[in-house]
């Protein structure tokens, strides 16, 4: 009888181990990696694109809210687009201005443009948030939004980088995406221009650029992986 008990307990332990291991594999506690490395839970490209697009949509929504609040509280006049928009610091980045142009652009270029934009906005948003926190004119809600916006842009950039990696791995795009290295150097020398912008201008510009990013990502996804949502 002790032999029977031992064998039964051993079988039981094996079963428990298998259950736990399988569950751990399925839950996704393993890190997401673009490459099919061992031990990683691999997400599909479509899945990655969906996550990134959701992220960009959220970013744009927050920027829109902040912009509306700003307009409402500080600049109640109707339309300021004509006055403001020419001073965005990202104006030097060439971006496709229409659907046709975006669809005609190469995937690598488009991906690069997205990454450039995201990189360009990391520091300004951070400083904007600092300004908002110090200036007591803004309420906490707006300050929190600014902080969230800054964080999201940061994460969005990482996500897009991962998407680019995956696309390069899959051979969809070539390895000519150069924005991954030294993003700070890509900024023009008059990068200090953004410090001169007023908060309202900054918000307007970012609102525009977040919309660009969102649109570009969507177009990219529907061109590369048009399974669902396109």
């Amino acid at each position: 009888m002790p032999g029977n008990i031992r064998s039964v307990s051993f079988a039981w332990m094996v079963l428990v181990y298998l259950l736990f291991c399988s569950r751990r594999a399925s839950v996704g506690a393993a890190p997401i990696c673009a490459n099919a490395q061992a031990g990683c839970h691999v997400l599909s490209l479509a899945n990655l694109f969906d996550r990134v697009i959701q992220h960009s949509a959220r970013t744009h929504s927050i920027s829109n809210d902040l912009h509306s609040e700003f307009e409402q509280y500080f600049l109640p006049s109707k339309n300021h687009i004509g006055r403001v928009s020419r001073n965005c610091h990202t104006s030097s980045i060439l971006t496709p201005n229409g659907k046709d142009n975006a669809q005609r652009m190469a995937r690598e270029e488009l991906t690069e443009v997205i990454l450039k934009l995201l990189v360009a906005w990391r520091d300004p948003l951070w400083h904007f948030h600092q300004n908002m926190a110090h200036h007591h004119d803004f309420n906490n809600f707006s300050s929190n939004k600014a902080l969230e916006m800054s964080d999201m842009v940061h994460e969005l950039r990482k996500g897009v980088e991962k998407v680019a990696e995956k696309m390069q791995v899959l051979g969809i795009i070539s390895n000519t995406v150069s924005s991954l290295a030294s993003p700070e150097a890509s900024l023009p020398s008059d990068s200090a221009e953004w410090r001169l912008m007023k908060d309202y201008n900054l918000l307007s510009c970012f609102r525009r650029d977040s919309n660009k990013v969102q649109n570009y990502l969507k177009i990219l996804k529907c061109r590369i992986v048009p399974e669902h949502g396109c």
């Binding site: 339309n79 687009i81 020419r86 659907k99 046709d100 669809q103 969507k218």
Partner: protein
């Protein structure tokens, strides 16, 4: 003019002035040609409309020209509208001329180069996007509430075809609005990007109007509303059937329950009898059940022992009625010739007794006749056993039979009840003192003794001495009882005196049947004989009370002679001791067998029971 009135006047003046100023402005400022609106439907093209304002001379087509500038570079210029639609005073910008995220500014110029420009007319295209309304709006019924008053509807549609949702260029969210037809306020549902939505809680029978519009996500400008659709759901006929059906069922069940309860309540007693039959209470015939309850044990005992007024008389009579002992006494009439004692013929008892025959036979016969029962089984088991007359039976018989020589012999014995047996064979026919053969039992004493009526003659004498002694002694039957104490010595000691008429032989042997027992004082002056059960005698338990060796001779050895007594006498009176005083029988021929028993020994007391035969003998 007071202070208040001056203040109010000032206020009024200010109001008036501002109003006037506004009116002046409105009236004075001519309305310039201006851009009315610019709208993009698909974020790829857009249109602008203008108006000449109050300048009606510029309303003709071509009088005003629209110029725009795209500020995508510092060296941009004003360009003219690429496509005019003069009928609408509209300028259409196609894909080639449309750039997103780039500010546009509009300008109107007249023929004589007057420019009407407003800085507020600058925009970026994504901000002026108003999508077309969704198309193919329809609805389906989801469900109806259980009460049948509300229902849910699923509305679905398609994205506007102009919006390139497929390419992901535009992300659109939709807003459904509905209202009942006769109301004015629209109910708006939450915005959501799906192309279907559920409307909850619509009312049956009401008609609803539904329309939809959409806008770009994270933007503020809505497109126009779609055409309305109308939703109406009439009452479902099946409700009419199910609701009354359930009502009927409920009422039916309630009615049945009520009916059952009524039946149970009305037939309660009968049901109780059927289900729970009553348990009979304890009952004893003739005794009140109240006495059986706790705490009344003494009364119960009293009743049971026959002392109270309870139902026990019935009990007693029942007992006696059940007892066949005294019911049947079969008497066989013996031949008169066989009787040896011609002297005894006068007595019925003598007639009954057949003394000529061998005594034993007589005795037996007599006994058997006297106290035998018919040979059926009536009462045999409980009373006498006629086959084997036991001692007690014989005793009884002996006492009943007067003058039995053997019995008298027995009676002479001093011992009390030592030998109850009666030997009857040896003696011959002897003269008997005529004693009455029949005795009527009048009552039963609590101690068990039988109280006999005066009709009996008991010649029970204790005869210790011989017959001479007995002859000397006078038997007095104390019927009077007043002189009982005086005649204590001569008291009536009932002894069985066996008189031999020829020889005067007495056969008084026998055990002493003492009346009253040795330990008890002889009963003086008793007209009748009280027979007590012999305490020293062993009594068979099978016999009844009266049949036990009951006859106890009186204590005194003085034998007394019983005069012959008549069969029946008349009770003269009852003395204080409840003795019956009888009339002396008429002196007839004295019995010849009587010993010289001087009648004068009998004082003024009446003789008592003297048979005519004995009377003859009495006379000396």
């Amino acid at each position: 003019i007071t202070h208040d009135s001056s203040l109010s006047a000032l206020l009024c003046e200010a109001c008036l002035c501002s109003g006037v100023w506004w009116v002046i402005f409105a009236a004075a400022a001519p309305l310039e040609p201006h851009i009315t609106d610019c709208i993009s439907r698909d974020q790829a093209t857009f249109q602008c409309w203008w108006s000449p304002g109050n300048f009606h001379n510029l309303s003709s087509p071509g009088a005003l020209r629209l110029f725009y500038i795209k500020k995508d570079s510092p060296a941009s210029e004003w360009k003219e509208c690429p496509e005019y639609v003069h009928s609408n005073q509209e300028c259409f910008f196609d894909n080639a001329h449309t750039s997103i995220w780039i500010p546009y500014c509009m300008q109107l110029r007249s023929q004589n180069n007057i420019t009407y420009y407003n800085e507020e007319d600058c925009f970026t295209v994504e901000n002026i996007v108003r999508p077309d309304p969704p198309v193919s709006l329809n609805w389906t019924l989801l469900n109806i509430s259980p009460s049948g008053l509300n229902y849910d509807v699923m509305v679905n549609w398609e994205a506007p075809p102009s919006a390139d949702v497929g390419a992901g260029w535009m992300r659109i969210e939709y807003e459904i609005q509905y209202k009942a037809i006769n109301t004015t306020k629209w109910e708006a549902l939450e915005m959501q990007p799906q192309t279907q939505q559920t409307i909850f809680g619509l009312h049956i029978g009401k008609e609803y109007e539904v329309h939809i519009r959409c806008r770009m996500q994270a933007f503020t400008k809505f497109g126009e509303f779609s055409d309305s659709i109308f939703i109406q759901v009439t009452e479902v006929p099946i409700n009419e059937y199910t609701f009354p059906l359930t009502l009927v069922l409920v009422f039916g069940i309630v009615g049945i329950l009520l009916l059952g309860m009524l039946i149970v309540i009305s037939q309660q007693h009968r049901l109780m009898m059927i289900l729970l039959p009553p348990v009979p209470a304890p009952k004893i015939k003739g005794i009140d059940p109240e006495l059986l309850k706790k705490g009344k044990l003494d009364e119960l005992n009293l009743i049971l022992s026959g002392g109270g007024m309870g139902g026990l008389p019935t009990y007693a009579t029942n007992f006696y009625q059940d007892e066949p002992c005294v019911e049947f006494i079969e008497v066989a009439v013996e031949d008169a010739d066989t009787g040896e004692k011609e002297d005894n013929q006068g007595s019925d008892t003598q007639k009954l007794l057949d003394l000529s025959q061998p005594v034993s036979q007589h005795m037996n016969i007599g006994f058997s006749n006297v106290v035998s029962f018919p040979d059926d089984d009536s009462g045999r088991a409980s009373c006498y056993d006629p086959d084997l007359p036991d001692q007690d039976t014989l005793l009884l018989m002996a006492t009943l039979l007067p003058g039995q020589p053997e019995v008298g012999k027995r009676a002479m014995a001093a011992e009390r009840g030592a030998r109850p047996l009666v030997h009857t064979q040896t003696e011959g026919p002897q003269t008997w003192v005529n004693t009455d053969f029949y005795a009527q039992v009048s009552n039963v004493m609590p101690t068990g003794g039988v109280v006999l009526s005066p009709g009996q003659q008991l010649r029970i004498q204790e005869s210790t001495s011989g017959a001479e002694e007995e002859t000397q002694k006078k038997e007095k039957e104390h019927t009077g009882g007043e002189d009982s104490e005086e005649d204590k010595e001569k008291e009536l000691q009932f002894q069985l005196l066996v008189v031999d008429c020829e020889g005067g032989r007495y056969a008084a042997e026998g055990n002493a049947w003492q009346i009253g027992g040795p330990h008890s004082a002889p009963m003086p002056g008793e007209g009748y004989q009280t027979i007590f059960p012999q305490p020293a005698e062993t009594t068979p338990a099978a016999t009844a009370e009266g049949s036990q060796s009951p006859y106890i001779l009186p204590d005194s050895p003085q034998s007394q002679f019983f005069a012959r007594v008549a069969d029946y006498t008349v009770v003269q009176e009852v003395d204080s001791q409840h003795s019956l005083l009888l009339n002396p029988p008429p002196r007839q021929s004295p019995p010849p067998c009587l010993p010289q028993h001087p009648l004068k020994a009998l004082p003024a007391m009446p003789v008592g029971y003297i048979t005519p035969d004995l009377l003859g003998n009495l006379s000396p």
